[in-house]
Symmetry: C2
Subunit: 495 residues, 2 copies
């Protein structure tokens, strides 16, 4: 009885006007009293009838709240009646996190994966980072209309995921597109739709690669691929690429299990692989029974002449896995990419994405299928090809006029970025850092090298910038170079 | 000259009315002639002037097409003039894939990952598979409106991905929601937005786990988690769960690096973890410096009493990683889930998703943030709680009336599925196969067991079925059981 007298009735009020059900309010209050120590182990709770009268609520409300506390173990009930605060409740930590407690570590491979981030762009700066398409003129109203239309499909389509490999409609549209535009001839069943090219890289790094397997990776080569492959435990062998082409010599490199290449528009050099090199590479892959991963990230953007057909079309031996993305042709945050895999791998890849969760949202798949089928994609590509060609021209002119003293930028038949090579021996990472302070976000080339001595220069993503931004970007770079010149040798490379 | 006479001029026509530029048409035709062998190595192409007259196209068109063939190595040009089919071209395989050629294999872990698919639902059947929410009454018109609105944001927001961990607005909304609804108190920075709960599982299986590390996984336990953990190379130790609770005894199991649990609504048993068990588990994790992964897949659906707060709120030692999803509360194909990680892990996880490509599409993130902030999510949850409570009641009544002879289905306070235990010793996989033939797609419980002897029964996802479908589903099961009774002992378990 003395216990009942100390029960903090005064603080216990429920609000009938609140959105929260009375039971929930009461349960929450009693639980917090227990956790805060206002009710201690062994304290008896008021009888349900008494409490219901006190609070002017139905007795069932009190019974339900007690029942919940009982179910969770905060209180115990005795057969003779009565409800007591349980022993276990006392052991619940009262306040938040204790920062002094040691925390388990990341796994070794977790630390490795987390050490290889994709370079993010810096918000609020002029974005001259490579890989970002034009955004302002994307037909978002059309996209929005198609999205809204697909969001209201109430049928089988949208509401569940019965085929993890991708929606049949999108797979078919992609297969058709690839045949026409990229020389990739495949059945819709060979297309696996995933959440972007990076997910595709991560997936192949696990599905066709075991820890310690050798991968030939272009040097210089795409950072995102390097991260995914290293994250998958690959042992990398540098496949040297120079302005003149790919140096394919299997006597210089360990036998590969996978060969990763960007033949349409090499990252970051921008060259395209000649037919002899393609055949030679397929020959090497055949000899070692290796896979070829063809990352066709930029294949659509060729300004002079028709697009170069993908390597996939040359392969009669079922060993090319093709990776494509819509993040560069539509908009970066779309997160839809795809793989084309040999027929025998279609089912295993579909099962694998069901485990890795890398299959793409159906609503985006359906919207994209409509966007392509209704001709908007082709129209957009055509407009972008023209726009990027114009933008490249303007960018080159400005670079030539304002930056030639420090950096030579060569024109390119393809792609959304250009390579600027330093005339002086600057350290490109320091230049990029200085440019960022001048408001221009740009990628140093050297980070794309990993075994061979890096070239220094900038990878200049001109495609996403309108005229005003282009002028501002070049002005920012000019100011950066002038700063460097006027200061000490701080930015010079060590000899 | 004899060569020129045999040049297949007749088949070479371009269509000025076509969408494809003339250069592209001509290039494509010549390339196909070469690949088909109609032009052979050493054959000379017509002079550009002659061909342009023949085809009635500008000479520049022909020059550009030849240039492209030259660039790709199909033809060579001699300094004295003239263009010949190159040697390399002859080596391009003429037709498609040669099926007799050996293909490299999947990696060992690839084969493992692909051997653990998430069970898909079968289209065209009544979907009694667990985990599918109500779909017909989801406010898709609101969703569509918000999607369309967000698709037209032209600002920084939509067009690029500068923070791989998730859009700040959604992270904040999720953090607030979790505090109020799930007892999970965290900063927005601790929320990592990913493409669904399966991606979250796959991610933690790599980031906090190395190959060969021991994971305590509930037995019976969630198949999707088992697949992701095995795919990550985990050595599993069965944490036994029975109707009475979790058998937490660290002397019976090897020291864990990770403990995976579903404490709010255990999969598949549907029980919730008592406070003593939660504290005991945290104690074990502390002793071995192990992580706890709390998969709160169904925490929102509790029909009687308030939701049980997540285990995350009990942890003062920074070792609980919380996984949530919107695929069960909104719709399955949404593909947005999240993790709540300790503060120190926020940056590494953000970097890791940039490598694995498991970050979610911004357009869906922004739409979801609006949907939650504008109150639609809470409203939908409230409606679904009522709806599912009603549906569970109806489903139980029908099971009791029609199926009690073969299967007992117990009511549950929470969740979107119920456990049906066989009264007779049926083999549940055979029953599920027979039910599918009767038009009902349902999951056998036994597949959720992996070390302990499996129980046999059905996991019945009642939540997504309206009254008509519920009646049809129970009728289909009744017919299935009657078939079994009338046939031999075919479906009986071996004694």
């Amino acid at each position: 009885l003395s216990k009942r007298a100390t029960f903090p009735f005064d603080s216990l009020t429920v609000d009938p006007g609140s959105d929260a059900p009375m039971t929930r309010q009461l349960y929450g209050l009693l639980r917090s009293f227990i956790l805060q120590g206002r009710l201690s182990v062994g304290d008896r709770l008021p009888a349900t009838r008494a409490l219901s009268q006190q609070l002017k609520v139905g007795r069932n409300t009190v019974v339900a709240a007690y029942g919940q506390l009982l179910a969770e173990g905060y209180v115990t009930a005795r057969s003779g009646g009565g409800t007591w605060v349980a022993l276990a409740a006392a052991r619940v930590p009262v306040c938040g996190v204790n920062p002094s407690v040691a925390q388990p570590a990341l796994s070794r491979r977790g630390a490795l994966i987390a050490s290889r981030p994709q370079p993010p762009k810096t918000p609020g700066k002029i974005n001259l980072q490579p890989g970002y398409p034009e955004a302002a003129t994307f037909p978002f109203s059309t996209w929005a209309r198609l999205l809204a239309h697909n969001a209201q499909r109430r049928g089988e389509d949208l509401l569940s995921y019965h085929d993890y490999s991708g929606h049949p409609r999108l797979r078919e549209v992609i297969a058709t597109y690839l045949g026409v535009a990229r020389g990739v001839h495949c059945e819709p069943e060979q297309v696996i739709v995933v959440t972007g090219a990076q997910a595709a890289l991560d997936l192949v790094s696990r599905i066709i690669l075991d820890e310690g397997d050798c991968v030939w990776l272009e040097d210089p080569g795409y950072l995102g691929a390097r991260g995914a492959l290293l994250g998958g435990g690959a042992r990398l062998a540098a496949l040297r690429v120079e302005r003149g082409g790919w140096l394919i010599n299997d006597r210089l490199l360990p036998p590969p299990r996978v060969i990763y290449v960007t033949p349409s528009c090499q990252w970051p050099l921008g060259i395209s692989m000649r037919i002899e090199e393609r055949l030679q590479l397929i020959g090497v892959a055949e000899r070692y029974n290796a896979w070829i991963v063809e990352d066709d990230y930029d294949g659509e953007y060729r300004f002079r002449g028709p697009p170069v057909p993908a390597m996939h079309g040359f392969d009669s031996t079922n060993r090319v896995i093709y990776i494509g993305t819509f993040g560069k042709t539509l908009f970066s945050s779309l997160r839809v990419g795809f793989l084309v895999v040999p027929r025998a791998l279609s089912a295993p890849f579909g099962r694998a994405v069901s485990v890795t969760g890398q299959f793409a949202p159906l609503i985006l798949q359906l919207t994209l299928a409509d966007f392509i089928r209704q001709g908007y994609f082709a129209m957009h590509l055509k407009r972008m090809r023209r726009l990027y060609a114009r933008r490249q021209k303007l960018f080159l002119e400005l670079c030539d006029r304002h930056l030639a003293r420090w950096m030579s930028v060569a024109e390119n038949d393809a792609g959304m970025q250009l390579l600027g090579r330093f005339v002086w021996p600057f350290d490109d990472q320091k230049v990029a850092a200085a440019a960022l302070k001048r408001g221009v976000d740009v990628q140093p080339i050297s980070i794309n090298f990993y075994q061979y001595p890096p070239e220094h220069g900038l990878l200049l993503g001109f495609a996403g910038l309108d005229e005003r931004e282009t002028i501002a970007a070049v002005a920012g770079l000019e100011a950066t170079f002038r700063d460097l010149e006027s200061t000490t040798n701080h930015f010079r490379l060590a000899p």
